[in-house]
Symmetry: C2
Subunit: 346 residues, 2 copies
């Protein structure tokens, strides 16, 4: 009998609420012969306040043993900026070598887009997850004085760029449009930019069926709002990917729907799935959070673990649920989860 | 008698065409007693192809002697990416210490926005222009091999951050909404981010009348498309400013209208004014380029040199011209320039 041994990090704010619905749908969609085991990890703001810990070694070692991780949201205004991001979320991405940060963007039917004319949007951003300006290689001297100098170093390796570019080509080759767009800023960040551009150009020769395009990151934001139909698969660095995927979420109806996977394609470490949105402490506990992004993250998780049919059932359920949504009659977090669970079970 | 001694760099692609219209409007708006002298500098792609030079010392010394610089556009696909950007455009910004890269964003009447509902948009981005990831402090080793490592260093100084933050506060204090938003990514780029955040918090005490806000750059892109009304003055680093101002141009009807000033507020060096758009080689020579961004850059130039009334006349002329535009009957570059020149002269 198959089984899924899942680590769950509910986290802060609306995290626990949306994760509860994600698990509800996951339980409903899995065939009864698949055994689902979950272990909850108490990590995030309240743990930090209580113990001063962000991600102790024991927990890191524990997490490593699971098949996958489902994460709700991390962060609270009461914690200094950077502490939980660097000490927990990014630490997990780096420790588990999540070099593919996968963020699909789709404008679902009956969903509001801030873009006039509701263009068709169906692309996926493959964001590098372990390098670039996220490596934590910065510092400051004479800190707090008028002579302060602060640096941030973007580190990029042929090893790191090639593996994510290959992953993006594979994804592009498997999609109907078979188009890959590299986004960087190689006219200014010439060294990192040339490494990315040369890598894409070289691997492109192995994928003659994939058409390849390059855009500067600034120009890419223009096309996101004027011509998002032009995108199929986008591959980009960690920071550009961070920026572009929030914009992508916004043009497809908001971060309430944006799912993501922090993937280690080799399987050496568990991959981690999380909604793109944050912990939204302002609406925590009100039942206003939309669990759909988490539910769609569960679909990515299932696909990663080889449950293609179940993943598709969830995505179809979301599409059907959104099609019937009535903006004038908002439902609670749990009601949306119930509706989705009923659909996938049906 | 007053006079303006202007250096003109028409540049590449549509640069010469739009600059010609900018000068036409400038000539028309200036009172007859103001003597306008222009010197044209042949810099850009064709110069580079001819002589291999991007910005020779003699030209740099010559440019320094003028009151201001008007630049059209730099860049051509025939030149390797980065050569003209780093060797000419950024070299000018750095050599002339253009630490305030000023980019106003306004949704003009009768102008298409890709945003549904045409929200009100009227903000200005104060982009730092001489530091951050633009300093050219990167490199690569084992280049072109599977062991390549490429770096890009973002350099940030208290000196550089404070002066641009002060400029932004001054601008915010002079505007009706009196609101300043710092955009950075201080939860990841903690060292540079803390320098920026601490500087803004400290200077804010001197401007109790200005309300201050902070947004991560990824979240800022969301608000650009969902709630651009919330912005008044934005202050941000060189790279985030680059990305955000292209997005700002897109949501306000396209880069055909986006003006910018590369300003040295001390007057130690000439400031440089240029449209945000590029050289658009695909439409060069067709008369399709919209010179409005250049004309609005001329207005910024005039305001910088103290010609407030003339600057306002140009902006009013643009507003009136746009209000009468008929998308079904596009005019040529020269026709738009003629119309604007006639309005400001009238
Ligand atoms: C919270 C933050 C560290 C994170 C990032 O920058 O990657 C978030 O914005 C995201 O996109 O997952
Ligand atoms: C051409 C390029 C170097 C430049 C920049 O990145 O600053 C441009 O995009 C701009 O915004 O003026």
């Amino acid at each position: 009998a198959r089984s899924i041994d899942l680590a769950v990090i509910p986290g802060d704010g609306i995290g626990p609420e949306v994760v509860a619905e994600g698990l509800k749908v996951l339980t409903a969609v899995l065939p009864s012969e698949v055994k689902l085991e979950t272990s909850t990890y108490d990590l995030g703001a309240s743990r930090w306040h209580r113990t001063g810990e962000t991600l102790p070694e024991a927990e890191l070692a524990g997490l490593k043993e699971h098949d996958a991780i489902l994460l709700g949201a991390i962060g609270d205004p009461s914690v200094p900026s950077g502490v939980l991001e660097r000490g927990l979320l990014l630490k997990l991405r780096f420790a588990f070598d999540h070099y593919v940060n996968l963020r699909p963007s789709r404008l679902f039917p009956n969903t509001d887009s801030p873009l006039a004319g509701r263009p068709e949007i169906d692309f996926v951003v493959v964001r590098e997850g372990t390098e670039g300006p996220y490596v934590g290689n910065g510092g400051s001297m004479r800190t707090g004085t008028p002579a302060e100098v602060a640096t941030e170093v973007s580190l990029n390796t042929a090893f790191g760029v090639e593996r994510v570019v290959r992953d993006a080509f594979e994804r592009a080759a498997a999609r109907p449009a078979r188009k890959l767009t590299l986004v960087h800023k190689n006219n200014v960040l010439v060294h990192a930019g040339h490494l990315w551009k040369n890598t894409v150009d070289r691997i492109a020769e192995e994928y003659p069926q994939v058409s390849v395009d390059y855009l500067h990151v600034d120009a890419a934001t223009i096309f996101f709002v004027t011509q998002p139909q032009r995108f199929d698969v986008i591959v980009t660095d960690n920071l550009f990917g961070d920026i572009l995927t929030d914009l992508a979420a916004a043009i497809t109806g908001g971060i309430g729907l944006a799912a993501s996977g922090n993937i280690n394609p080799t399987g050496a470490f568990p991959s981690m799935f999380e909604p793109v949105h944050g912990s939204a402490p302002d609406i925590a506990g009100t039942g206003k959070a939309d669990p759909t992004a988490t539910v769609l993250s569960v679909a990515l998780l299932l696909r990663h673990l080889g449950y293609q049919a179940e993943a598709a059932r969830i995505e179809d359920a979301v599409t059907a649920d959104l099609a019937e949504r009535d903006a004038a009659a908002p439902r609670t977090t749990a009601a949306i989860g119930d509706a989705l669970a009923a659909r996938v079970a049906g």
